[in-house]
């Protein structure tokens, strides 16, 4: 019980830190603008003439997150290391795990808020037609889990460096790989080289696992995939933090 209280203390601090800097507001505005622009103009929401958010809205999420999630996660550890507050944090009577989980949770909740603020899209589609709101809900859940996976990867890259910019770029590249592993043009190339590899490669892609949620299917394997990416990444973060200190 006590350990969750520590986690929550860290989470509260981190969340507050987002909102004292303009970064949070900038992030949310950009995210909402992108969502609106791509859904209605690029995604052809109206031209499709169907009451669905899957193609025009959720299809873009892996790409939005590619830039936005590393921007949210980049400061988590890099800033602590640059300012030196990591020395305070890790000499407090809490475990490194509580700090890692607390920080991750704060950013994840922040992303949840950004995601929740896209609700006008849901209202619009409900106003215009009769969409399957169950599908929309599972797609939201999937989108949030996917954001969590990206974020956990950003945690690793943030722990690797003192520089937020370096952290941003590395996590962007890593996340790009996770997308491209399931991106049709890339899969086609791999298929020509070796068809056997396709299953293996696509298994590691967020695209493949997000697909199920977009169809309204809550597959335990997909949920497990995202959760294990998160778990593994946070574990790696703890190893990196420990190695830094071991010298």
């Amino acid at each position: 019980m006590n350990s969750w209280r520590n986690v929550w203390t860290i989470t509260k601090r981190e969340l507050a830190a987002y909102f004292t800097s303009p970064l949070a507001y900038v992030f949310i505005v950009i995210f909402l603008l992108l969502c609106g622009f791509f859904t209605f103009f690029v995604g052809g929401f109206f031209e499709r003439q169907e009451a669905s958010l899957v193609r025009p809205f959720f299809d873009w999420h892996p790409w939005f997150y590619l830039f936005l999630v590393p921007a949210v996660g980049m400061r988590l550890w890099a800033e602590e290391r640059r300012v030196g507050t990591i020395e305070l944090l890790l000499t407090m009577p809490i475990t490194a795990w509580q700090a890692i989980v607390g920080k991750f949770l704060a950013s994840w909740l922040f992303l949840a808020l950004a995601l929740a603020l896209t609700f006008p899209v849901v209202i619009t589609v409900n106003y215009l037609g009769r969409p399957d709101n169950g599908v929309i809900l599972t797609a939201y859940v999937g989108s949030w889990l996917m954001a969590g996976a990206y974020l956990a990867i950003s945690c690793i890259t943030s722990a690797l460096t003192r520089s937020q910019v370096v952290s941003f770029i590395i996590s962007l590249v890593v996340c790009l790989f996770l997308i491209l592993a399931g991106f049709p043009p890339v899969i086609n190339v791999i298929e020509q080289v070796s068809p056997k590899l396709v299953d293996l490669v696509t298994f590691f892609s967020v695209m493949t696992h997000f697909e199920g949620f977009q169809k309204g299917v809550l597959d335990s394997r997909d949920i497990l995939f995202f959760l294990s990416v998160i778990g593994f990444s946070l574990f790696t973060t703890s190893v990196i933090l420990r190695t830094h200190r071991a010298g």
């Binding site: 203390t9 030196g84 020395e87 407090m92 475990t95 200190r245 071991a246 010298g247």
Partner: protein, 317 residues
């Protein structure tokens, strides 16, 4: 309260800390001296559990810092070097956060925060963001953080660094007062601080302890300890030195100043200690017009220099 045994830390091929052992009891203030890069901060980081030791052990209040880090950390307050603090928070927010993470809730937390705000004179900047604070205020904010839970053990890495003379004085007073009931380790470059605050001092150089004792004992190791300075009028310098060399206790005489008929000389004793030399010199000089005669207590900076850089200290002398 703090027991450090054979502590070592290796960074790559460099032995930053190499077999350091000491202990600090309740009611003791231990000054940690040493040149830059001697391993002071590294030692403190290992004591507070930030860096895992490469060898040896640290126990705080009976808890091993590696085996039971949470229990040990709970007993400790720590002011890291350069006094880091979350720049995006206000002073109040920051102290509240550290109180909460130290397990203080509700009224206990409010009391703790207002107590340290008073102790560290932070009232004026309470709702200002840490980023906008001057160095002195930021330093005191971080210091306040370290004592918020009224810990039994305090580890302070250069607590007076960057403060103005008044603030330095305040912080020293604070450390000395708290030192009556707590076990405190603090590092410093400023030797007068050791005199003002410490009950014991350790000098560390290249990762090893090279001296350990009370400030008084350390001063005794100085060449200056027991030296006598004499100023007379109307005598030639050579005559004064010649006469003083006849005093049996004198080992060496140097002329400090020779101007307008005033001669200042300093006589070093063969064995340091009591005021016998001053008395003997006073007798030898009774026919001159004595303007000043006093014996030195020994200088810490002298000891510090001769211990940490033996070669250059000799040249200078």
């Amino acid at each position: 309260m703090i027991k450090v045994q054979n502590l070592a830390k290796v960074f790559g091929t460099k032995r930053a800390v190499d077999g350091v052992s000491f202990s600090v009891n309740r009611g003791e203030v231990l000054g940690f001296l040493g040149p830059n890069g001697a391993g002071k901060s590294t030692t403190m980081r290992m004591i507070t559990g930030f860096l895992p030791p490469s060898g040896g052990s640290v126990s705080v209040g009976g808890f091993d810092i590696v085996e039971h880090p949470i229990e040990a950390k709970r007993l400790m307050g720590y002011l890291p070097e350069n006094a880091p603090a979350y720049t995006d928070m206000t002073v109040y927010g920051f102290l509240n956060f550290t109180a909460e993470i130290r397990g203080l809730r509700g009224d206990a937390r409010k009391q703790a925060v207002s107590r340290v705000v008073d102790m560290c004179f932070l009232g004026a900047v309470l709702h200002q963001s840490v980023e906008t604070l001057s160095k002195g205020f930021r330093h005191r904010t971080c210091f306040a953080q370290s004592i918020i839970h009224d810990p039994e053990v305090l580890v302070l890495d250069e607590p007076t660094d960057g403060l103005d003379p008044n603030q330095k004085h305040e912080v020293r007073q604070l450390i000395r007062r708290m030192g009556e009931k707590k076990a405190i380790i603090f590092s410093t470059h400023i030797l007068e601080e050791v005199d003002a605050v410490c009950s014991r001092a350790i000098i560390i150089d290249r990762g090893r302890i090279v001296a350990n004792g009370t400030p008084q004992e350390l001063r005794q190791r100085s060449e200056w300890a027991g030296a006598v300075t004499l100023r007379v009028k109307g005598v030639v310098a050579s005559a004064v030195t010649a006469k003083l060399y006849q005093v049996p206790l004198v080992k060496k005489v140097t002329v400090v100043d020779d101007k307008d008929g005033h001669v200042t000389v300093r006589a070093f004793p063969k064995s340091s200690g009591n005021g016998a030399l001053a008395q003997a010199i006073g007798e030898a000089a009774h026919e001159w017009q004595i303007e000043q005669l006093h014996s030195e207590e020994g200088r810490l900076d002298d000891v510090f220099r001769s211990i940490t850089m033996p070669d250059t200290a000799k040249e200078a002398a």
